[in-house]
């Protein structure tokens, strides 16, 4: 069985969803009640892949909401308790969705292996980052030409280049896609220099320098709070792939030749009988989901019960190939730019 650990995008949405599901005691509670609420296994689902393989899974709501980010201990408990629940339910492979993998990584939860009488078995969990990185790369490769951008001649900036997903994207773009020039943007210089060395290429630039030069920008870092960019200095067309979490790039950039695509999202070939993707604000919640969730499903389809994506900078091109091939074979496709845009650039 595969598992997905997720959360609502806001406290308000979480309460509404809890009410819909009949969890009145939580729905009626204030944020303090939510901080004390246990994770809930809210849904079981059966999925049949494009090649006819059937798997079963479960969605666990961690009862975390982004409003809890400032409460370190609360956020940590929410993630660990949800993971414990997944393990107690005997789920073989569970993806950490939304903020939960970010909390796991940034708050260093590896040191919290013991949760009550359960010793967490990391092999049962995946961040899903390998699939996310592959999906983002394919989104760039498939959608840039639709906007008239020839990647062989294009400058592509990766913002958050040294992170787990960012560095994998950089490796793929330099070795597989063969973009004309790769611009590496991140906050810390040392890992940037190391990345440049392993890539044997790429140009290190600050964000404000990189953006006006880029035909495409892959964002895998959260948007800096006070970022003010004059859109008129950006290239036209410019493809921006919003691979960070939460997805808020379109508020800042969309329009005047800049095309923002939600990054790291896939669509399944058939409807899935679940209701929980609505809380992730997917446009077609019966089919669309985060690529990290889909990774858990793919690992289950492939009987590959291991923490496929784990830790930092362990994503190889071979792993991306493996998960990418599985993704296509089982019926996932990557989210593309809107059809009306496609036609206007055809």
């Amino acid at each position: 069985m595969f598992g997905l650990i997720g959360h609502s995008t806001s406290f308000k949405d979480a309460r509404k969803k809890a009410m819909d599901l009949g969890y009145d005691h939580i729905a009626e509670g204030d944020l303090d009640v939510w901080c004390s609420a246990p994770p809930q296994l809210v849904e079981h689902v059966k999925v049949v892949s494009a090649i006819g393989k059937t798997i079963e899974g479960a969605y666990i709501d961690s009862c975390f909401v982004p409003e809890m980010l400032g409460r370190f201990k609360t956020a940590r408990r929410k993630v660990l308790n949800a993971m414990e629940l997944a393990q107690k339910k005997g789920i073989s492979i569970t993806a950490l969705g939304g903020f939960t993998s970010i909390i796991f990584e940034n708050f260093n939860l590896l040191q919290n292996k013991q949760v009550r009488n359960t010793t967490l078995d990391w092999e049962r969990f995946t961040t899903g980052n390998t699939h996310t990185a592959w999906v983002i790369c394919r989104q760039l490769e498939l959608n840039a030409p639709k906007l008239g951008i020839d990647l062989k001649k294009a400058r592509v900036a990766v913002v958050g280049a040294t992170g787990d997903i960012g560095s994998a994207v950089c490796r793929w773009l330099s070795q597989r896609t063969g973009v004309s020039e790769l611009l590496l943007v991140a906050r810390q210089q040392k890992p940037l220099l190391e990345l440049q060395q392993t890539l044997q290429g790429g140009k290190i630039l600050g964000l404000e320098e990189a953006l006006p030069q880029s035909d495409a920008v892959v964002w895998v870092a959260s948007l800096p709070k006070n970022l003010e960019i004059d859109k008129s200095i950006l290239r036209n067309p410019c493809l921006m792939i919003d691979g960070g979490y939460p997805k808020n790039l379109d508020e800042k950039f969309a329009g005047s030749g800049i095309h923002v695509l939600k990054g790291g999202i896939v669509e399944f070939f058939a409807d899935i009988g679940w209701s929980m993707m609505e809380i992730a604000e997917m446009e077609i919640p019966q089919r669309q989901m985060f690529a990290c969730f889909a990774e858990a499903m793919l690992l289950e389809f492939e009987n590959c019960h291991t923490n496929f994506s784990w830790g930092r900078n362990n994503i190889t091109l071979e792993k991306m190939d493996f998960i990418g091939e599985a993704s296509i074979r089982h019926g996932f496709s990557v989210l593309g730019i809107q059809p009306d845009l496609k036609s206007s650039f055809a």
């Binding site: 806001s10 969890y23 982004p66 400032g70 009488n117 959260s222 948007l223």
Partner: protein, 236 residues
């Protein structure tokens, strides 16, 4: 939506309290007493239940003896810190729940008795122990870890009984829960400041309780919506 970038993370370090401070010892005198009284209550309750189910009296007596062993362990924890447990406070603290158990016992309402002891008191205890283990002094930590091990090893007889009799006892279970879960909530509220002096967060205590409570109710065969309805009583 907030992001990690925009959020100031606070309280990032786990701290152990100063076990020798007067404030700690003062709070400990009440918390330790509650734990001792709780185990004593459990001892008496299991013996009482044995009277209502004579053919299971031996099994229940074994449980009672285990609770007595735990009580002795926690008494030693207080002594080790040079703290005198405030048993008068603890008796008063448990009196509403104690009263409800005694009333149900006299009326031979087994379901209510088991809800109070095997679900509520057990969940209250195990959740507090889980939180306490992380911030306890080394001596108490060892004792509490062994108590928790015991709790997981022994079969929760009350839970088994409720599971086996669920069809006939559900209505009484719901009613008893409505009357007694709010008592647990107010017990947690009463003890929050003292627990805080021991670095035990009220929020975490409540969450651990809800997890243990939910697990028990799932185990006896209730579904998540029924549990949600029962848990609502904690908000009133």
């Amino acid at each position: 939506m907030p992001t990690l970038e925009t959020t100031q993370v606070s309280g990032a370090i786990d701290t152990l309290p100063d076990f020798t401070s007067e404030q700690y010892k003062d709070a400990y005198s009440r918390i330790n007493a509650i734990v001792i009284e709780g185990e004593k209550e459990a001892y008496n309750n299991y013996l009482s239940l044995g009277q209502l189910i004579p053919d299971k009296a031996d099994e229940l007596k074994k449980l009672a003896i285990m609770e007595m062993k735990h009580m002795k362990g926690f008494t030693a924890c207080g002594k080790n810190l040079g703290v005198t447990a405030d048993m008068v406070f603890a008796k008063e603290f448990f009196s509403p729940l104690h009263g409800n158990f005694q009333k149900a016992f006299k009326e031979e309402k087994l379901t209510t008795c088991f809800l109070i002891q095997a679900i509520l008191i057990e969940a209250f205890a195990i959740s507090a122990y889980h939180v306490y283990i992380r911030v306890a002094d080394p001596f108490a930590r060892k004792i509490t870890e062994n108590v928790v091990k015991d709790e997981y090893l022994h079969l929760n007889y009350g839970q088994e009984w409720l599971k086996a009799n669920l069809a006939s006892c559900k209505d009484e279970l719901m009613k008893a829960n409505k009357e007694n879960l709010p008592l647990i909530k107010s017990m947690l509220d009463q003890v929050a400041d003292d627990a805080g002096s021991l670095e035990m967060d009220k929020e975490e205590l409540m969450e651990e309780f809800m997890i243990a409570y939910q697990d028990s109710l799932l185990e006896i065969g209730l579904d998540s919506r029924e549990i949600a309805r029962m848990a609502l009583a904690a908000l009133v």
